[in-house]
Subunit: 452 residues, 2 copies
């Protein structure tokens, strides 16, 4: 009886253990599947991520060859570790960020090492007892000072990592010097291994499928302008048409502007470190992208305010909306066209002259709006009903002036970076038989001359 | 003759060298003065920066004692370097960021070291020739994989540094193991020196004038709400009064909201690493600050749109503005009061019940605005003149609903983090004889009951 009960118990235990184990196993399988899906999505979003990972693996493996070949190892010994370390720490996603970190690390190692050797020499003059005190004091003072320097905004933006490595190298060299008399050799080994690691990183980063921060920044700017254009294109339809399911489908593409609200120009710092590449000259005016970005963001704020009226409770009756419909849709679509031209101009690196006539038309529409509001078209409508539509109209007028700002800053960028004139582009395209497009552009160009 | 010419030349040279040297010297002095001024400003803005610098200096000096005392040095030898390194790299401005980096580094060193030792053991089983190939392959695979993992947004937010150190430690241990047979001892030394460095950093960071990221985040949230309140308080005056110099002086304080537009919630990640401190429990709902921050930013976008109308060319005549003046200034000032109460509540960590009656009044004012627009107060005014004022009015209505959102998210935060009830605070204050304030709060509290 007892034994059969025991058997039952054992069966029960093993059963519950089995189901527990099974549940656990299923959970793990689920997590693995989720991770795999995420990884696939990340890779598909930007395949350069996979390439970057392989590049890092390659660089580390190459540099660790120091340990495998005797003739390489003999020169540096354990110091070869610094080369591996440099690769791991310095290799960033874009060329600019990598070069920035590499140059920072190289120069900081040089300066920190030199100062460390100097501190060691000075301290050793003071005799056995005073030496440790002097070394300690110098480490304290230098690291306090350098840490404070990291708070300076200008230094923080470009040399933060360099200051960190400076503190590190200075402390290591001056302090190890207390034990190891060959302090110069140590500093020299550290510097040369850091240089080797940095050079390997830079070469692999630049010559194997390089990822340029500058190009990313340039494309991102164009894409952001395009996102604003997409919203403005869709807004007219969405706000002034009667709502049906066909339009609701487009709603997702209208929300593209939201990502523009939070764009920060951090790539500019990386881009400044990059050498001449692709379509970008050595001294490309990267600073101007900050200005363009600012005007894009300003426009996005207005669009965000406008977007509220798509879903607002305070809704204007359709018959009132139709009265401002024509100038508003005109302004919105012309701004959208102008922004699209600007984005296209950026992408092809030509001067977007063809944007100007659209801006002119948008301005004319703004004037028309004013006159359509001035005439007594509104005899017996309730003011309260008008207000939301009036607000929308005046926000669109604001957006027109934001578009002008964007156009100005993009034109300035085109001027500074010596973009091609569309004439030259047309000549090229004509040669390839694309006459229709060319005449279109030339026509708008002639309007542009009148505008200016 | 020739000699006198020579003399003249020499005189001329020495003169120009003198003036050149003088100009150069003056430039250097100017730079030094500028830097000193900047440093003074940085220190005055936030004196904790100076304290932080001294703390870093102290920590590095303390840890470098390993090199000075024989009985400490004997245990670790050159590996003592890792302790210094850890301090330099891990010591961040706030406790949370420091702990986050320290924990990341500690755990990553442990895992990377263990895996490195395992890889070394496995490879050494394969025999002399295959060993280097297997080690190289494992380094390549692991570092490629770990680099790719760094792209996962969730891992990037909290464990980016850990993954970096994991790659670093794994490469160093497994590769150095090829040369050095005491690979376990090496891994052990590295781990323990990293732990010592990390512990020293954590202790100094926490116990000497700690800088809590959580507290900073909490105060920043309150300050940002206050900045919005300051704008709304000033806006009514600025927009509806005739402009005179007295008001122009306040303009600078109105621009305070601009800094709110670009606030990011990066401190939240640091705050999550922090232990219980000051007024914050162990599991303080830091995530909720992101939500509060989002609603604050949304309100700031509206305020930015509103701010345009202070300087806009499209200006409504004063007599029209005065018609919407009363409800608009009422809404704006009530929102301002509500935001101030919310900020005060956050600062004192009490439930800001007293904000609710202000919000109720603002809502009532919004209704009044509607009725004042509905009544036929506007018989023969030009619609074009009305529009800017109408837009301002409707933006202020939007801001009222943004204020409601901010209030909701702050109330939710108060609920989640179990803020004191104002009753308790009142009882305390009454005990100290501050009856006048108390009755004021109680009155508003009773209104609040009606609202809910």
């Amino acid at each position: 009886m007892a034994s059969s009960e025991n058997q039952e118990n054992v069966k029960g235990y093993s059963k519950s253990a089995w189901s527990w184990g099974k549940g656990y196993f299923e959970k793990i399988v689920n997590v693995v599947i989720c991770v795999a899906k995420d990884a696939k999505k990340l890779g598909e979003e930007d395949p350069r991520r996979i390439v970057h990972s392989f590049k890092v693996g390659l660089a580390i493996t190459l540099v660790s060859l120091f340990y495998y070949f005797d003739f390489l190892y003999e020169g540096f010994g354990v110091a070869a570790m610094w080369a591996v370390m440099t690769v791991v720490v310095v290799f960033e996603f874009s060329v600019g960020a990598t070069l920035g970190k590499g140059v920072n690390r190289g120069i900081a190692t040089l300066l920190g090492g030199a100062l460390g050797v100097a501190a060691h020499r000075l301290a050793s003059l003071a005799g056995e007892n005073a030496e440790s005190i002097m070394l300690g004091l110098s480490v304290f003072c230098i690291s306090t000072l350098a840490t404070f320097l990291r708070f300076f905004p200008k230094l923080k933006a470009r040399y933060d990592y360099g200051l960190l490595i400076f503190i590190l190298t200075f402390s290591l060299i001056s302090v190890s010097g207390y034990r190891d008399d060959e302090v110069i050799e140590m500093a020299h080994k550290r510097l040369s291994t850091v240089m080797i690691g940095g050079a390997a990183t830079a070469l692999i980063c630049i010559f194997i499928c390089p990822i340029w921060a500058g190009e990313d920044l340039h494309n991102l700017t164009a894409t952001n302008i395009e996102k604003l254009a997409i919203f403005l294109e869709g807004f007219g339809q969405e706000y002034f048409e009667t709502r049906d399911d066909k339009h609701k489908v487009n709603k997702a593409s209208l929300d593209g502007y939201i990502s523009v609200l939070n764009v920060k120009g951090t790539e500019v710092n990386s881009a400044k470190w990059e050498p001449r590449h692709g379509r970008f000259r050595y001294r490309h005016p990267w600073g101007q992208y900050l200005k363009v970005g600012r005007s894009i963001r300003e426009c996005a704020y207005r669009i965000d305010a406008l977007n509220c009226y798509l879903n607002s409770e305070m809704q204007t009756p359709l018959e009132i909306r139709t009265k401002v419909k024509e100038p508003c849709t005109k302004m919105s679509s012309e701004c959208s066209c102008a922004l699209r031209e600007l984005a296209k101009g950026l992408k092809t690196m030509t001067r977007a002259m063809s944007a100007d006539p659209h801006i002119k038309k948008a301005k004319t529409a703004a004037k028309n709006l004013k006159s359509s509001l001035q005439t007594s078209l509104w005899p017996d409508t309730d003011l309260l009903d008008i207000i939301p539509a009036a607000t929308v109209a005046s926000l669109i007028v604001e957006i027109v002036s934001c578009t002008v700002k964007i156009a100005d800053s993009v034109h300035e960028l085109a001027c500074l970076s010596k973009f091609k004139n569309p004439d030259a582009a047309i000549a090229n395209e004509k040669g390839q038989g694309k006459v229709a497009v060319a005449s279109d552009i030339q026509e708008s160009h002639s309007v542009n001359v009148i505008v200016e």
